[in-house]
């Protein structure tokens, strides 16, 4: 099969959906002529014109608000917030408005909007351009939170997100944009709320999100040399998320690490750990549930420090060996 990058996969999903449905349009900063801060929307202006690929002033509140208004009136906007850090500016529109409208209007109004936004560190962009804030959004009823880790998932999940009638926070990762993978040329959907087992294993389950899926795969290859067989579960959607697949995997292996880039305290790993300990899988645990997350500090500008602020492959290997204890 053809291999394309994560960024290309997203672009292809946007293009195909825009060709298919004239109500789909893009709105954000530097999408058009510049092609997006990470080049994701490059070339779309030429095909679809300024009406459907709308560059905006630097106001995330306005982007989110305009997208919300359009969605309520029947459009299917795909907004881009250039850095996830800036969703803070759009929070009122996303959390207080977009997430609530459907419920406050008794289901008469719907909000089919997608907010695409790149998260994560690793580019030397410092504390205000490197955060992973997915846990905030999973805490808001009415929002769906999607976090793809591969080009294949990115395309299928974005298509499903555009077609969904709820406000969706679609979290991309800056370091994943240039990663490649097999992606079908035709349109396809990946249902929201369904996890994917990225690797089958017996001794240990790693529940990883976004960039951490790739790092967990690298770690598992190293661990395999020591005879440790790792199963990697990628929830893909954080809200709603696929509890059953995680529980089944933990019941099989008896040991689990939840790993994400976001700060450990209050991170999504806490939700996974709590859910496991409340579930039938508790009685299958042969070791405490382990969480790996970013340090509770703002991401440093210094590249060495930045690297140490979030879990790396060696951190996952060490945590796995600690759990296996043999």
């Amino acid at each position: 099969m053809r291999e394309i990058t994560y960024a290309e996969a997203i672009r292809e999903a946007l293009r195909q959906e825009m060709r298919k449905d004239k109500n789909v349009f893009l709105i954000g900063e530097d999408l058009g002529i510049y092609g997006g801060a990470f080049g994701v929307t490059y070339g779309l202006l030429d095909e679809f014109g300024e009406e459907r690929v709308r560059d905006t002033p630097i106001s995330e509140a306005a982007i989110a608000g305009a997208a919300l208004g359009a969605a309520i009136t029947g459009m299917r906007p795909v907004a881009e917030i250039m850095f996830m850090d800036f969703t803070t500016i759009a929070m009122e529109q996303i959390v207080n408005q977009a997430a609530k409208i459907k419920f406050m209007f008794g289901g008469k109004a719907k909000v089919p909007m997608v907010v695409r936004t790149p998260a994560g560190s690793g580019t030397g962009a410092a504390a205000q351009h490197s955060q992973s804030l997915e846990a905030w959004f999973t805490h808001v009823p009415g929002l769906k939170v999607v976090m793809p880790s591969t080009p294949y998932d990115a395309k299928g999940l974005l298509i499903s997100s555009i077609r969904d009638n709820n406000p969706i926070i679609f979290i991309e990762h800056k370091l994943l944009y240039k990663t490649t993978g097999e992606v079908p040329e035709e349109e396809y959907e990946i249902p929201l709320g369904v996890a994917d087992i990225k690797r089958k294993g017996e001794d240990l389950t790693i529940v990883a999100t976004s960039i951490m899926v790739q790092r967990a795969i690298s770690a598992s290859k190293e661990l395999e040399k020591d005879g440790i067989s790792v199963e990697i579960v990628d929830p893909r959607t954080l809200k709603p998320y696929d509890k059953k697949t995680i529980i089944e995997s933990v019941k099989k292996t008896g040991k689990v690490i939840a790993v994400h880039e976001a700060c450990k305290t209050g991170g999504f790993g806490a939700e996974i750990a709590a859910m496991i300990s409340e579930s039938e899988a508790f009685d299958y645990l042969d070791a405490p549930i382990k969480r790996l997350g970013g340090l509770d500090i703002p991401i440093p500008y210094n590249r060495n420090l930045e690297r140490h602020a979030v879990p790396q492959v060696e951190d996952i290997i060490n945590a796995a060996k600690e759990l296996i204890y043999r």
Binding site: G254, F282, D283, L285, D286, A287, E322, Y325
Partner: protein, 439 residues
């Protein structure tokens, strides 16, 4: 109606465990008589009844632990009815018991349905950790079992006692592998036990095969026991030896026939003839008419001949006293009387005591020779075998068929030797071959 209460048997006693009721409901019990056994944490004590009467009702069963002063039974008159209040009390208790049983059943279901995360012991330990004294806390800390949820679940399923499992996980935590290992060991041990049991069963089968099946067990008692003891004493104390002879009794036969023709109504038997001949021989060789006692051979003047006589349950030896001085007729009379009374089990102690030499006869059963056991503490016994006609070469070298009697003389070798026995037999033979001496 009296109450029986759980007694306070010691200053610190709060509860007592009913080990055993020594009386049943309906039994009569006297004041001061032991009624039940109560086990305290130190000792088991018999509790006596404080009243005379019938044990009407037992309220506390064996094995129950009852607080002191609580009523455990009622004692009353034989026909006294248990009062309604008591019955009510009992019904109430029964009702509560039912509720208690139901509660326990529900608990059981709960435990079986849902995994119980904390075993009793752990809850207890946690209580101590929270509220206990300092030294108790230290102890409890050591006792708390550290095991993963999976290890605990597997232990429950596989019935592995976690307190006996060594944890190899972090901080000594018992993990899955430890439980599996322990379960495997238990299984191996069980298999070993099974194997042992199998061998044991096989052994039992073989044992059964080589052990003769019992038809009947007869306790050794009465006359059999006496016979057994005396025979054993004789054979184990006396070194026996036996000499055998075969005697032509054609003359004896003629004499017997002649005598029996002369005498009306009476019958002289070979036994009578042998008794007389033996008595005369003993007169000649008194050393055979003796007993060995404490390194001394005591030779008797009286020649009292015992006749081994069979009875229903055994053997008895009635005595013909001073047989050497009696006529054949007298001997026959005595013999008939003794044998008859033996058959009717009417012999007295005086009839069977005091023999100095015994004769035993199995000739009528076609026995040729046998070696009897000396009638302890005598020095000898004469065994009489069957009389059969045999070819005999006489002095002229002619062969004739003559009646031959087989005799065996069994003697105490401590008292005398073979030569003396042989001489005795020579003399006896002479008498029996020329029996006119007997008349």
């Amino acid at each position: 109606m009296y109450e029986v209460i759980m007694p306070k048997l010691g200053m610190t006693m709060e509860k007592g465990l009913i080990e055993r009721w020594l009386k049943k409901e309906g039994d009569y019990v006297e004041k001061g008589e032991p009624l039940l056994e109560v086990m305290t944490d130190k000792v088991t004590i018999e509790v006596e009844s404080f009243h005379n009467g019938y044990l009407k009702k037992i309220l506390a069963k064996e094995g129950e632990e009852i607080p002191v002063t609580e009523v455990i039974a009622y004692i009353g008159e034989k026909d006294e009815k248990i009062s309604e209040e008591i019955i009510k009390g009992m019904i109430k208790e029964k009702g509560e018991e039912k509720i208690e049983i139901k509660r326990r059943e529900e608990e059981k279901v709960l435990i079986e349905e849902k995994p119980k995360y904390k075993v009793e012991e752990e809850i207890q330990i946690e209580k101590i950790l929270k509220y206990g004294k300092e030294e108790e806390i230290e102890k409890a800390k050591v006792k708390k079992i550290l095991a993963s949820p999976l290890a605990k679940r597997l232990a429950r399923q596989m019935k592995v006692d976690l307190s006996k499992v060594t944890g190899t996980g972090p901080g000594g935590r018992i993990v899955k592998a430890d439980v599996l290992k322990a379960a495997k060991e238990v299984k191996m041990r069980e298999a070993e036990i099974k194997e042992k049991e199998k061998i044991e069963i096989e052994r039992e089968i073989i044992k059964k095969r080589i052990t003769p099946e019992i038809l009947e067990t007869i306790p050794l008692k009465g006359i059999r026991k006496t016979i057994a003891e005396r025979m054993y004493k004789s054979i184990s104390e006396i070194p026996h030896f036996t000499l055998y002879v075969e005697i032509d009794i054609s003359n004896l036969e003629s004499l017997k026939d002649k005598l029996n023709k002369e005498i009306e109504g009476k019958k002289i038997s070979y036994t009578d003839l042998i008794v007389k001949a033996t008595a005369l021989s003993l007169e000649k060789y008194p050393i055979l008419n003796s007993t060995l006692k404490d390194d001394k051979v005591i030779i008797f003047k009286d020649i009292n001949v015992g006749l081994a006589t069979s009875m229903k349950d055994g053997l008895i030896v009635p005595v013909i006293f001073n047989a050497n001085k009696l006529s054949l007729e007298e001997i026959a009379d005595k013999r008939v009387d003794l044998v008859n009374r033996a058959g009717e089990n009417k012999l007295e102690l005086d009839d069977v005591s005091g023999s100095t030499f015994t004769i035993t006869n199995l000739g009528m059963f076609e026995i040729d020779y046998f070696s009897p056991i000396i009638n302890f503490p005598e020095a000898g016994i004469l065994s009489v075998g069957a009389i059969t006609k045999k070819p005999i070469v006489d002095k002229e070298g002619k062969i004739t068929a003559e009646p031959m009697m087989k005799l065996g003389l069994t003697l105490d070798h401590r008292v005398l030797d073979g030569v003396t026995g042989a001489k005795f037999l020579q003399y006896l033979r002479k008498i029996l071959q020329e029996p006119n001496k007997l008349v």
